[in-house]
């Protein structure tokens, strides 16, 4: 931090010194005896010495004062903070990031225990001018990315943001879709539990980003709106032989702007109200044709809508979300998939409720236990084929997650939780994790 201030240097000593020297030079020699002149000179020399001493003292005081001012807030604040910007505000270039290391141990199948660097993300933003900036994020998932390793390297965000006025921003490029509570706030310090909740993973395919353009506006009473025209899903990516579509219908057909098919664009609209401190309620809808002009696909409109809310009375923190997805005209495509294990569902949904409590709060530390109940169904309905061919609807899956987040050091979190699964066929598991954000 810099302290912007001005100090006016006292001008009197320097003026007095100049005046004294001037007076000495202009003494009329003829008006005094040699002895008187010598006495006057001695007196003036003494005064000059005094003034020099005074000038030196004032200069030192001023220097000391400036040193104190220059040292004030930067050092004081720096003692307790980790700089978030390595490049500094003046250059316009900033770096940021987050990361997550996880350990998951299934109760009934310990041999399936895994430990991984789930995410390592480096972000960079650059302020081109006061109204225009670049935001980018590069992500490595699961540590190593190669043909023989499970990792991935992804450009998670890459967009230019422009401020049009004090209430309106525009984005163009690859950006996060304003859907749900997690998608735009997915850093590990910002959600409860070692892993992201299942509803905002399987139903809303977090981290969900699309390419296109988006406008974001807000009002002084706390209403924010987002409206955008973006790329969408590609139903021709559906693999009926893979279980991926059952795990996350939209996650299996999203394109992440990797040579995305873009003959059919989608639209997104979201509203969020935060006008009452501690309360947030909102909803969003995303809709667009996923046929993308591909042979055998026609008018396969994907629509995903959701509603959400958070409320923080005192030390409590409550959150809830409902999401519902629909894909139209799936029968024709599914008839070509008969005999395969994973057909395209017509609808899928999920919801959760979560409660957290700020149990202990001291210095920079916070201990927050939480519990979350989720119910989701990734194939709650299939469109009719013919008798005997239409698949059974998928089962509701319930997940209860209880655990604790321990936040410390302004952006670091340690997590532990226990997950109980019902209806998924999966084993309960215990998870530990570390996350950070800067």
């Amino acid at each position: 931090m810099q302290l912007i201030a001005t100090i006016r240097a006292p001008s009197l000593p320097r003026s007095a010194l100049t005046f004294a020297i001037g007076a000495l030079m202009s003494l009329p020699a003829s008006a005094a005896t040699q002895q008187e002149l010598e006495a006057q000179l001695a007196g003036l020399a003494g005064e000059v010495a005094t003034l020099k001493s005074e000038l030196a003292r004032v200069s030192q005081e001023q220097k000391n004062s400036m040193t104190a001012l220059a040292a004030v807030p930067v050092q004081v604040i720096g003692e307790t903070a980790t700089p978030a910007s390595s490049a500094g505000a003046d250059s316009g270039l900033d770096f940021f990031g987050y990361g997550q290391v996880d350990y998951a141990r299934p109760k009934d199948n310990p041999s399936d225990t895994t430990a991984t660097v789930s995410r390592f993300v480096v972000g960079m933003s650059n302020q081109f001018d006061e109204k225009t900036r670049l935001v980018s994020e590069l992500e490595i998932e699961n540590a190593v990315s190669s043909a023989d390793d499970p990792g991935e390297v992804e450009v998670e965000q890459l967009y230019i943001e422009r401020s049009f006025d004090d209430r309106l921003f525009g984005k163009v490029g690859l950006f996060l879709i304003p859907s749900g509570l997690l998608n735009e706030n997915h850093e590990p310090t910002r959600f409860y539990g070692v892993f992201r909740n299942r509803v905002e993973t399987a139903i809303i395919p977090t981290t969900w980003r699309e390419g296109g353009m988006l406008l974001q506006g807000s009002t002084d009473f706390g209403l924010r709106w987002d409206a955008g025209l973006t790329t969408g899903f590609d139903l021709s990516k559906w693999d009926p032989t893979s279980p991926e579509g059952k795990e996350s219908p939209l996650g299996s057909i999203h394109q992440e702007m990797a040579l995305a098919k873009a003959s059919d664009m989608s639209g997104v609209f979201a509203l969020n109200y935060t006008g009452i401190p501690g309360l947030r309620i909102g909803a969003s809808i995303f809709s667009g044709d996923a046929a993308q002009g591909q042979l055998g696909f026609d008018d396969n409109v994907v629509t995903l809508w959701e509603a959400h809310g958070t409320w923080t009375p005192g030390r409590f923190e409550f959150a809830a979300l409902y999401a519902n997805g629909h894909i139209s005209n799936t029968s024709k495509v599914n008839l070509t998939f008969i005999g395969n294990p994973t057909l395209i569902p017509e609808s899928f949904y999920g919801w959760y409720g979560q409660a957290a409590y700020n149990l202990l709060d001291w210095d920079e530390n916070s201990l927050r236990p939480f519990v979350r109940f989720e119910r989701l169904n990734t194939a709650s309905n299939y469109s009719d084929l013919s008798p005997g061919l239409t698949p059974e609807n998928g089962p509701d899956q319930d997940i209860i997650t209880s655990g604790v987040n321990f936040l410390f050091a302004q952006g670091v979190v340690l997590k532990a939780d226990y997950q109980h699964f019902h209806g998924t066929g999966g084993s309960d598991q215990i998870n530990f994790g570390m996350g950070y954000q800067f």
């Binding site: 931090m1 201030a5 100090i7 997104v268 935060t274 409109v301 923080t312 030390r315």
Partner: protein
């Protein structure tokens, strides 16, 4: 045009209707002058205030304020009305998510805070911090014990970092006022 495409253009049309009729290009929401007048409307003078901080005072402020985000520039003005001290206006900058937020707050002679004014917000993420209701939470608080984030000053879901960092910044400013500004140096 497919139904979906019609839906898309309908959404965009609705968005266009919500846009302001005239777009004014400006990076800052408030000028310094406007912020000063908004903070102390009755004051008729805002003089830049120069001060020095000793190492001991620095330690005291840090201990009182608690954890801090990275800060930018700090400026201080002494407000007065007809020569009567009216309080201090403190302008500070803190990191939001990845960029600086410029904000200002007033401290009356009795230590009462005014609402926070946001002068500049440079990124769309977390822009909800400009909500009037959120900024008013600071008004008439006197003590650092009344400035606890989440309990006293509520979090904005989706703008957590911005709301937390501004709250921490205000804590630092109030600690500065209590340690230095409220007890001016004894030397002339």
């Amino acid at each position: 045009m497919a139904d979906a495409d019609r839906g898309v253009f309908g959404l965009m049309g609705a968005a266009a209707l919500m846009m302001p009729a005239t777009v004014v290009v400006a990076a800052d929401y408030l000028t310094i002058d406007a912020a000063q007048k908004s903070i102390f409307p009755s004051a008729d003078s805002f003089e830049p205030f120069v001060f020095a901080i000793t190492a001991e005072q620095r330690s005291t402020i840090a201990a009182l304020a608690g954890a801090q985000p990275p800060h930018g520039a700090l400026r201080v003005w002494k407000a007065s009305k007809d020569g009567t001290p009216w309080g201090f206006v403190l302008l500070d900058e803190v990191i939001g998510r990845s960029d600086l937020i410029t904000y200002a707050i007033g401290v009356a002679p009795d230590g009462a805070l005014t609402p926070v004014e946001i002068l500049s917000y440079r990124e769309s993420h977390g822009a909800e911090i400009r909500n009037a209701a959120w900024r008013r939470q600071f008004a008439n608080r006197h003590d650092l014990s009344e400035l606890e984030f989440r309990t006293d000053i509520k979090n904005i879901s989706g703008a957590t970092l911005s709301s937390e960092h501004v709250t921490q910044g205000v804590r630092w400013l109030l600690a500065l006022w209590a340690t230095v500004l409220h007890q001016p140096p004894s030397h002339p």
